[in-house]
C-alpha cells in the first residue's frame, strides 16, 4: 500500500461482502443493539451519516433517503453502486466537515473507529442543531485490543485480509467506554449513554477474530461485547 492510498478505497469493492465476517458480525450486533435500545430519531431535519460507505441509515433506522447526507473520506466507498439513496453525498474527513454549523437533526455513524476522537465529537456537536441526536457504534476496546495484542499488530489499526489474499491496514482507534463518555461530555453533549453489545445468538458464520478473543477470555462468543452503541444529545 502506498502512502497516498486510503485503505478503504482498496476495500470498497468487497467491504460489504459476506467474506468479511467480522464486519457482518458487527452488522448483526448493531441491528440487535438498536432493537434493544430503540432511539428516538427526530421526525424532521437532515441526518448526516459519517463514514457512510454505501449507507446504512435506511437499513438500521428506517430514515427517509431525502433527509440523509452521506459523508465519507473514501471516494471509492462513496462510489459503491449498490447503495442506499440519499439527498447528498460529501467527500470529506468526518473530523473536518466543510458544512455550516447546526444544520443536522441527527449525526449518525456505524463503526466510527477509523475517525473516533475528540475532534470528531466536537465536529459532530458543531454540526448538530439544538436538541440534536448523536448516534454511533464502534468496536469495543475489550474485544479489539485483545485481538490486536494477540495478532501482534498495531493497536491503532485494523487489519483486513482481502479476497485476493492481500493485507490492508486501516486506522482504527479503540477507546474504553468511560473515556468515550468523558470525550462526549468535554465536547458539550448531554444525556450520554454508551452500552456494550455482543454477537446475537443466531448469528452465523462467526468471525474467527471474535472466536479467538472469546476463547482467550474463556467466555462464550455471545458473551463478548464487540460493539458499543453510543447515544448523546446536544443541549
Amino acid at each position: 500500500m502506498t502512502i497516498e492510498q486510503n485503505g478503504y478505497d482498496l476495500l470498497a469493492a468487497e467491504y460489504y461482502d459476506i467474506f468479511h465476517r467480522t464486519c457482518r458480525n458487527f452488522d448483526a450486533a448493531t441491528a440487535q443493539a438498536l432493537a434493544k435500545h430503540p432511539v428516538s430519531i427526530p421526525k424532521e431535519g437532515l441526518v448526516l451519516e459519517v463514514g457512510c460507505g454505501r449507507g446504512r441509515c435506511k437499513e438500521f433506522l428506517g430514515i427517509d433517503a431525502l433527509r440523509i447526507v452521506q459523508l465519507d473520506s473514501s471516494r471509492q466507498m462513496l462510489g459503491i453502486k449498490e447503495r442506499e439513496s440519499c439527498y447528498l453525498r460529501v467527500h470529506a474527513d468526518a473530523a473536518s466537515v466543510p458544512l455550516f454549523d447546526e444544520q443536522f437533526a441527527v449525526v449518525v455513524g456505524f463503526l466510527i473507529d477509523p475517525f473516533i476522537g475528540l475532534n470528531f465529537f466536537s465536529e459532530a456537536y458543531r454540526l448538530l442543531r439544538s436538541r440534536g441526536l448523536f448516534l454511533a457504534t464502534t468496536p469495543t476496546a475489550e474485544w479489539g485490543v485483545s485481538l490486536r495484542n494477540e495478532l501482534k499488530i498495531e493497536t491503532s489499526s485494523a487489519r483486513f485480509l482481502t479476497k485476493g489474499g492481500a493485507t490492508i491496514a486501516v486506522p482504527s482507534t479503540l477507546i474504553p467506554p468511560n473515556q468515550i463518555e468523558e470525550m462526549l461530555d468535554h465536547s458539550g453533549f448531554h444525556e450520554i449513554l454508551v452500552t456494550p453489545h455482543c454477537l446475537p445468538k443466531n448469528t452465523s458464520p462467526v468471525s474467527p477474530d471474535i472466536q479467538q478473543v472469546a476463547e482467550k477470555k474463556k467466555i462464550g462468543i455471545h458473551e463478548l461485547p464487540i460493539i458499543h452503541l453510543i447515544t448523546a444529545n446536544k443541549p
Binding site: 497516498e4 491503532s156 489499526s157
Partner: protein, 259 residues
Amino acid sequence: MLIAVLRLLGIRTRRQFRLTLRALAIMLGVGSGYAIEILIENHLFWWSALPFTFVVFSTFFEFILADLITEHNYPIETEEKLDLLERQLGIRAVETISEKLERMIQTFRACDRSCMSGTLHIIVELAPVPETRTRFGLLQLTNYVGPRGGSKGRITTLDQGIIGRCARTGKAEYVNFSDEYEYRRRMVEEFGFSMEQADSRTTIARSYIAVPLFLNSRVVGVLYFFSTEPQVFPHAARESNLAESAQDLVAILRTASIV
C-alpha cells in the same frame, strides 16, 4: 556579567558577538596607529611603544583571543551549548521544568494522559552552513516527560516540524494524523523532513500541539506535547491555559539567563 552587558546592548547571537569583538579590535588598532603617528611626529619615540603594544594586542585579540572568547560564550557544538545551558539553569531548574510539564499534561481533558509526552525547546543559533550563513534552530532542553520521545539535545531547524512552524508564526499550532501513512506523507510534504528524518522520530504519535514562549514579544522557545492517541488537540488542551503555563517557564529560563 559579560553576557548581561551584551544582552543590554542587544547582542544575542554568536555572529553578533563575534562582529562586536572585531569592531572593538579594529577601533583599538586604528586608534593606537593614529596615536603612534602623533607621538612619532612629536619625537616621543619611547612613548609610541605604548600604543604599539595596543596594536600588537588588538591583532592578537582579533586573530586568537576573540575566537576563544566567542567559543566560550557562544559554543557552536550542540552538546557544549546544552551543557552551558544546563550549567546556567542548574539541575533543580531542569527538574522544575519537567515537573511543570507533567502538571500541564495532567490538565489535559478527555484523553488518555498516559499516552502524552512533552518537552521544551528553546531557540538557539546553529553553526553556519554554506547555504545560509546564520541559521536558528530549536534545541530540546529537557528529556521528554511521558512514555515516548527522544532525549534532550535534539536540534530542529526553524523550517521543520510543528515546533518550527510555531516558532515562525508565533501562534499555537496543532496537527493530527490519522495513521502512520498520513504521518509519513505530511512530515515530508508539509513539515520539511526527509523520509529518513521522519522515520527517526516517534512514528506512532498522532496528535501534536506546540505553544510559543514569548519574551518581550519575541519567540524564545516552544512548549511541545504529543500523544499517540489520535485527535487529541486542540480540544483536550482547551481548558489548560497553555499560554500562561508557557510564560511560567519563560520566567524560569529568564532567571537562569537562558533567554
